[in-house]
Amino acid sequence: MDVGTHSERLFKFNLPFKLPSSTVLRAAGVYLSGILYSVGFWFLVDASIYSKTVNASIVHVTFVDWIPGICSSLGMFVVNSIDKNRLFNDSLNGSGGGGLSSFNGGLSSTSWYARLILFFGFSLLAGGLAGSVVVLVLKFLMKDFNTYPTLGMGVANVVCNSCIMLSCIVLWISQNIEDEYSYSLVL
């Protein structure tokens, strides 16, 4: 599959390393997404245990701080449990062989539902991130807890939700790499 780098030389300089194949890239992406999710999760757990043990302030991590993380995780689960072939292929194949409806961009009902659920999942993810910022502002900044060890518990919440969102994006991208790869294999 090394077309362009070895058989036909396009550039004067070859890369000193081989570009990783799409399967390797995809595996690395999935591992990376697991690692990112883990980072986010442990930031949240760290904040809550820190607030229990060495917290000198009167602010404590309560269930409110966990809600954005739960929303993000739920959104990630929803987004990644959708079969991605349902999203795009149905609009190309037409809905049940109806020529005119596919010409007009009409979608079959499964594709429509898939997109609706995808939108729901992404809005859960975005809502989790926004909710963590809301917790940071309302619980920490508005009440003048600006010094760092206390503020760190709010910042950890934002970091956690950004990590979960990033993990979801990485997982999505790496699974789409595989889709193109298998597509070329089938053809």
Partner: protein, 130 residues
């Protein structure tokens, strides 16, 4: 390519494994604080998802939905490996263990995981040769 006797490979790996366990147990016993011991559990569980879900990949690759099952195993593996590293860090950040205990348990856990992975690939090569 250097060929090593398989028996000496196994002996080397077991020594490294024992050293990893020793580091973790020391990190608990020296400070009489047995919280870092859970790192062992995480790193022992970490290779399992890949081993279990990876076997399901071999059905047939034309099927659309098979590829997402090993993905879940990889995701869990990444999650667990980083959990094993993050747990001592978190305990240190909450001042539940000392810094030396954190370093020892992280290093020990990583050695244990590395040994298991090396062992797995070692047997995998053995399968390919036959």
């Amino acid at each position: 390519m250097i060929t090593i006797n398989p028996l000496s490979k196994i002996i080397c790996l077991s020594i490294i494994l024992a050293f990893g366990f020793l580091l973790i147990v020391l990190s608990c016993a020296v400070y009489n604080n047995w919280r870092p011991l859970s790192v062992i559990g995480i790193f022992l569980v970490a290779p399992i998802p890949n081993a279990v879900f990876g076997k399901l990949d071999n059905n047939d690759f034309m099927n659309e939905s098979t590829s997402s099952v090993p993905d879940f195993g990889k995701f869990l593996t990444g999650f667990l490996v980083l959990s094993g590293l993050a747990l001592p860090l978190m305990l240190y950040h909450s001042l539940l263990i000392t810094r030396n205990a954190m370093l020892m348990s992280m290093g020990g856990g990583f050695l244990v995981y590395l040994t298991i992975i090396t062992f797995g690939t070692f047997f995998h090569e053995e399968d390919d040769e036959f």
